[in-house]
Symmetry: C2
Subunit: 194 residues, 2 copies
Amino acid sequence: MTESVHTNIDLALVHFPVYNKSGDVITSSVTTLDVHDISRICRTYAVDAFYVVTPLETQQKLVRRLMDHWLEGYGSEYNPTRKEALLNTRVVSVLDDAVADIARRRGEKPRTVIPSAKPFPQSRSYPEVRAALRNNDPHLLVFGTGWGLEKGIVERADIILAPIDGLSGYNHLPVRAAIAIILDRLLGRDTRAE
Amino acid sequence: MTESVHTNIDLALVHFPVYNKSGDVITSSVTTLDVHDISRICRTYAVDAFYVVTPLETQQKLVRRLMDHWLEGYGSEYNPTRKEALLNTRVVSVLDDAVADIARRRGEKPRTVIPSAKPFPQSRSYPEVRAALRNNDPHLLVFGTGWGLEKGIVERADIILAPIDGLSGYNHLPVRAAIAIILDRLLGRDTRAE
């Protein structure tokens, strides 16, 4: 098993409150594939904990059952890299529970970092956020599912990050792809300056 | 619908010949989610065509049925961003068919770019490949599924790209996440130099 590297970064994937296609605030369903993919991506970039945020008890049970299978059950022997990825995955009811858990673990509340297409007073560029993450203060990267995080949560973020713009004007990346790209931009080795 | 931006870059996802966990050369199954995710990622970074490569006729039919549903059927109205993503997706039997199709479309064979963890004489850094893609020569980015592309294909690549190394020594990204990160590094706006 790969040695653990601890960083000051945690990540949350939020299923409530988020918008649906029509602009209603809803609770989106947990996608088990997101849990696996994002756990692997977080592990690759040494994110400390990955919080799956859903208030629905049935959905929480689904994630816990999935984790039990791969951490303890047959899956742990069948696919050890999946097991390793899930070791730092946790389930909480609301985003504040993730913040509280981090405050308890680290002795300090994290600053929240949320991507948004809209400009805010607390909007920062990728190099600025990359630099901010290099100090030792705890930071929590927060991503919404569905059609995006409820705007009150976004407005209360400590740091707003520009969204990913590709080259085509088309911007409909799956959240798991957006997380992969953003973690590489913020935490990856700087391969462009080689 | 977003206006089409044409580039000199195409991408192939190969299901044969690839390795399985035991090191046998096999044909991996097409994951419909890979088709959707990678189509969206390619569209975001203005990749011209996305080739799903599988010699199995049943698997080719599966991809075509999926595409028909989202391009022509009920899905095209339900989710137009998914339709738009799939417009440039194609199914071919072998990698050489993708190369031949590109040669026919562009009047010139593409140079192949393949990521590999091993060093080769044709290994290049991300900045070198990023610069190479900026000229007008056609390039085909080739990714394997399963436990990776059969080594003969890798050895014949025109350019070998370093794999993604995160921060933790853990390197088991899903192929759809690796493609997202690599396209952002090679084609994305240079947000680190802002």
